[in-house]
Symmetry: C2
Subunit: 253 residues, 2 copies
């Protein structure tokens, strides 16, 4: 049982019926809504809101991304945004897919492995490019037009490698899982305190306080765990994944 707010024009009613932001139905509803708009000169638009949100994100960081801050940057009241987005979660879902739109999708002509390498690197790049709210990552798998375009490109590439369609889909999901996880982990691995202290500083001292048996291997390799360059780690993760896919290909002769 839903109580639906009905505005005089019924727009808000539509926007708040309650599909989960990022879900397929929600994206459908969204495109309907955008089509029904009658933009004013110098007025707001979803596009301008996303742009302002990305500005806030890049300049002042994740914590500063509030509806109020976005409104201020646009020179309007925060209440005005709610004519274009039904909630902060919607804004975040929109940002998530918008960012995926920066991915360059093109075949390399050098085979499926090179194609997938580019797709993975591109996805990682756009995620790391700005401090995305985690919730955007949560919806990143989602059903936005840019994400679906990306998924389609990956499925196509795995298809051309010789996988069955079903396996190409599964493999694409695995690829997305890995890149999403890698970006998240990298972000925290390279994090530092406000005071500038790297997250791993004092690692040896920390190990000394733990039961020796619990961290025996780490004692011998702690510096590797700490100082492994993030790009090298990603390259290695990607290589494992691609080698795994290769080993599952039907014998190619």
């Amino acid at each position: 049982m839903h109580t639906v707010q009905v505005d005089s024009d019924g727009l808000v009613a539509c926007a708040s019926v309650g599909y989960e932001p990022g879900s397929a139905r929600w994206w459908i509803q969204r495109s309907d809504l955008e089509r029904r708009r009658r933009p004013r000169l110098g007025g707001l638009s979803t596009e301008r809101i996303i742009g302002a949100a990305l500005d806030v994100l890049r300049e002042d960081g994740l914590d500063a991304l509030t509806v109020r801050a976005v409104a201020e940057r646009l020179g309007t009241s925060n209440a005005s945004l709610y004519r274009h987005i039904a909630s902060r979660d919607e804004l975040i879902a929109l940002i998530g897919d918008h960012v995926m739109g920066d991915i360059r999708i093109e075949r390399t002509g050098r085979g499926w492995r090179a194609d997938i390498e580019v797709l993975m690197s591109e996805m990682r790049r756009v995620i790391l490019d700005q401090p995305l709210p985690d919730a955007a990552g949560r919806n990143m798998h989602g059903y936005g037009p840019n994400m679906l375009r990306f998924v389609n490109a990956a499925v196509t590439a795995f298809d051309s490698a010789g996988l069955t369609r079903a396996e190409a889909v599964y493999t694409t999901i695995a690829m997305i899982e890995l890149v999403a996880g890698a970006a998240t982990i990298q972000r925290s691995r390279s994090g530092r305190s406000p005071s500038g202290v790297p997250a791993g500083a004092g690692f040896d001292e920390l190990l000394d306080r733990l039961p020796p048996d619990d961290v025996a291997a780490l004692r011998e390799t702690g510096d590797v765990y700490l100082s492994a360059p993030v790009d090298a780690v990603f390259a290695h993760s990607m290589a494992i994944f691609l080698d795994g896919v290769t080993s599952r290909l039907p014998a190619s002769h």
Copy 2:
């Protein structure tokens, strides 16, 4: 330049000097702090706070996890919690590592691959077990005692497989990236609207609205993308990863 709040007992001063929650230095500071406590009968403790937070999380979900809600469940004022945790972020970091403590770490005796399979499945299980705040995932890689124990177990297993120490460390990070990403994506894949609509409902209609060339492969395999069972997807991701690791092992004869 820091302005440090100094309480009469100096405790709060210590807790707020500003290491990033989840960082190595922060965990060191934490264990010092806990050691200096003089608990009262029936009083609060970090442990009780974490327990209450997990209760809130499991019963009322992620959005309900507020400092105030945790305090209410403990029958105290929210201000009281700040004697044991310096911020909500600290609480989340503590939860993140606490959850990793549920992982059963034991050798299977059936080789490195079986050992790693267990570790991956266990990590996935504890992450999915409750709706963890994303920020906990962000810190999950971190330097908590339980996480380090887990990392150590994985490095040890890869070591026994024949990888060099450095490669074992890199491979462990890749493993964590994959499992963290897989859990995140699964959570959103199986999400539904408050009204109970699955996130993927209406997928075909959505594809119809996109440029046909952008989603050609998905049109043919959309149902697989939608209905792939989450457990099967994870098993497949894990198999790719393990096959990849295997293919990178030094020839074993």
